[in-house]
Amino acid sequence: MKQIDERVLTIKKDINSKAFSITYFALWALIAYRMFILNQDPKEYNDLFILTIGISVFVILNTVLSGVYGQEKVINKKKRVVAEIGFLAVFMFFFYFITGVDSIAKLSLVAGMMIVIRFAPFLLGMLSSALIEKKLND
């Protein structure tokens, strides 16, 4: 059986990857549109939400299990911590002004959630590295 030309395969994969990215972000945009502009009841777009979350979980899970999560860049930990603190400060600033929420408890909860969300990639990166090290040593 004749092999497919590697260049053709690479180009096709690249096109499919771009199409996936466009579709993925369009799904998030649709959810945001229904939530904030149309003010629809979440039950009306549950299907879209489940699909989008499902795809996100699929991508993250496969990236972690294949050992490549967080491997694209060399992380300077000090710079990363400073950047994360800066991001959190900017985020909370805009959150406070846009939502008008002034309850300390609610703001703390949002800040806590953001810390978890931003810290989760570190944990996933460590898990991914551990999985690939295990594969190398087997």
């Binding site: 092999q3 030309d5 590697e6 260049r7 053709v8």
Partner: protein
């Protein structure tokens, strides 16, 4: 950067781009792009091309 070494090695063997492409299982355009320096082949493809032209990797791909 153009890869003239591949072109000359191919001509030594009296092969067209299409014939070389057929031997190494790629399209003629891919061989053309490799020779024009506009596509970087994978290592397995480099090895296939070397075997087809009876040359080593250094002969065809080393930029020395």
């Amino acid at each position: 950067m153009k890869n003239l070494k591949i072109k000359f090695a191919r001509m030594e063997k009296d092969l067209t781009q299409g014939e070389l492409a057929e031997i190494v299982d790629v399209t003629r355009q891919t061989i053309g792009l490799i020779e024009a320096g506009k596509y970087t082949p994978s290592l397995p493809l480099c090895i296939k091309i070397c075997k087809a032209l009876d040359k080593t990797l250094d002969d065809l791909f080393w930029e020395g």
